[in-house]
């Protein structure tokens, strides 16, 4: 799995009942993610990538792809 797929799987583990999740899915409008959902998702990503995430750095994400961009900017890659 590439980085984007791993992100989607991590999000799916939290948002079990939500509609299909794609890179274009928007947090609020499509996935109805609230602040506690976001915390759970960030925790799932921490576990998935063995990193520490500062919540404040991810408050401006709009789509799932924004997460991928932020993680790639931190040096994470498909490997």
């Amino acid at each position: 799995m590439n980085l984007e797929e791993r992100i989607i799987v991590a999000i799916q583990s939290i948002l079990e009942k939500r509609p299909q999740i794609t890179l274009e899915s928007r947090w609020l409008e499509d996935l109805r993610v609230d602040s506690l959902d976001l915390l759970m998702i960030l925790s799932a990503l921490e576990d998935e990538f063995s990193i520490t995430i500062a919540e404040d750095d991810f408050l401006d994400v709009v789509t799932v792809n924004d997460i991928a961009i932020k993680l790639r900017a931190r040096g994470l890659s498909d490997g």
Binding site: L28, R32, V33, D34, L36, D37, L39, M40, S43, D47
Partner: protein, 391 residues
């Protein structure tokens, strides 16, 4: 920013109220919680309050409160650390400890304050607090204020909780926080298993039993009794304003915890103590429960089931609940307000929950039929619900 800008920023968005043509919040109540209550001048059936056992207007409880006012006045005008710690306060602490089966108890002005003050007093940035995703605002805000790292787990999901505990290392202390009865859902936490997980991972369990105390368990003693948890080593909080029909909140647990909080919980130390009338009221309710819990609980369960059946017959989606709560899954916030309005127009006062009290788009309308209602009233409620469902 100008003063005008400041107040403009605070102005409320009223679009939801306009769509529903109804604001279910801050309705003016013109009576006590009698069999019929008066709301904005109209007689209605109360399915909104948390007066589970119907004791808020019980004559014995009222008399105890009156006698306390006659003896002590309306207030001791001081915090418990100063002049608020009257003999009645001390006696009630002991009675509540015995009731919930724990060593010692603190009494605070509300359970919101208990939950808000607790975490800042016992946890800090070096700690991790794992909390059920549906936990009450008072717990979430209290955890946030403590500065500890917060990790929510999926509602009542032991597997998810354990996966977090397995991966969480390097913290000074881990606390696991949940509620006993989740009142917006009607669900009950698998607390015995959560306590076992805490033991396995050396975490401190914290439970808010606000909707459980006086309501669940064989004799109404709450979640620890209901789940047969003996020798509980964790922290326990609860409201005195629901099943116990008064107001205030408690923190109970081991003596060392309570002794510490008596000096280090600012929400206790700097808040005027609960007034004598309330302390006496709680004491009277505990006495009544000792003799009458079975009878009251049977009625509560009967009413919950009757209303549940009418909701199903009326075509509503409602969670099957172990608690005496019916929670209608109403959907969007607009749909939630509109359902509350239909009930209101038909003489039923309900409690609608919209985000952020519940997840976005998962609005709930909660119905609690207290034991003070009559069977005729509940039959009337059932007929109304079925009629609304057919519309």
């Amino acid at each position: 920013m100008t003063l005008r800008d400041f107040y403009k920023r605070l102005s409320l968005d009223e679009s939801l109220v306009k769509v529903a043509d109804h604001n279910p919040y801050y309705q003016r109540i013109d009576s006590g919680l009698n069999r019929r209550i008066r709301v904005n001048g109209h007689e209605m059936i109360d399915l909104a309050s948390n007066n589970y056992l119907g004791l808020a207007t019980d004559s014995r409880v009222k008399l105890a409160a009156i006698e306390a006012v006659q003896k002590y006045g309306v207030s001791l005008c001081g915090t418990p650390i100063a002049t608020g710690y009257i003999d009645l306060y001390q006696r009630l602490e002991a009675k509540l400890s015995s009731f919930v089966g724990l060593e010692q108890t603190l009494i605070l002005p509300s359970c919101y304050q208990a939950n808000n003050g607790l975490f800042g007093s016992i946890a800090g940035p070096q700690d991790l607090i794992v909390v059920d995703r549906f936990a009450h605002s008072s717990l979430i805000q209290g955890i946030k204020a403590s500065g500890a790292k917060m990790r929510p787990f999926l509602h009542n999901n032991l597997e998810h909780l354990e996966s977090i505990l397995q991966r969480s290392t390097g913290y000074r202390q881990i606390l696991v926080v949940t509620e006993s009865v989740f009142s917006t859902e009607g669900s009950i936490a698998p607390y015995r298993e959560i306590v076992q997980l805490c033991k396995a991972y050396h975490a401190v369990p914290v439970i808010d039993d606000s909707h459980g105390i006086g309501v669940i368990g064989k004799s109404g003693r709450g979640i620890l009794e209901q789940q047969g948890i003996k020798g509980y080593q964790g922290v326990y909080t609860a409201s005195l304003g629901k099943g116990l029909a008064n107001s205030g909140g408690i923190i109970s647990g081991q003596k060392v915890l309570i002794d510490y909080l008596k000096y280090y919980c600012p929400h206790l130390v700097y808040s005027t103590a609960l007034p004598p009338a309330v302390l006496a009221g709680v004491e009277a309710v505990l006495d009544i429960l000792h003799y009458e819990f079975d009878r009251l609980k049977k009625r509560l369960t009967l009413y919950q089931q009757a209303i549940y059946e009418s909701l199903i017959e009326g075509g509503f989606t409602v969670a099957s609940s172990e608690a005496p709560i019916n929670s209608i899954q109403a959907g969007s916030k607009e749909a939630t307000f509109i359902l509350a309005k239909k009930l209101y127009e038909n003489g039923i006062l309900s409690t609608p929950f919209i985000e952020p009290s519940v997840p976005i788009g998962e609005g709930r309308v909660r119905l609690i039929a207290g034991a003070n209602l009559t069977e005729d009233t509940v039959a009337e409620v059932s007929a109304i619900i079925k009629r609304i469902g057919r519309l």
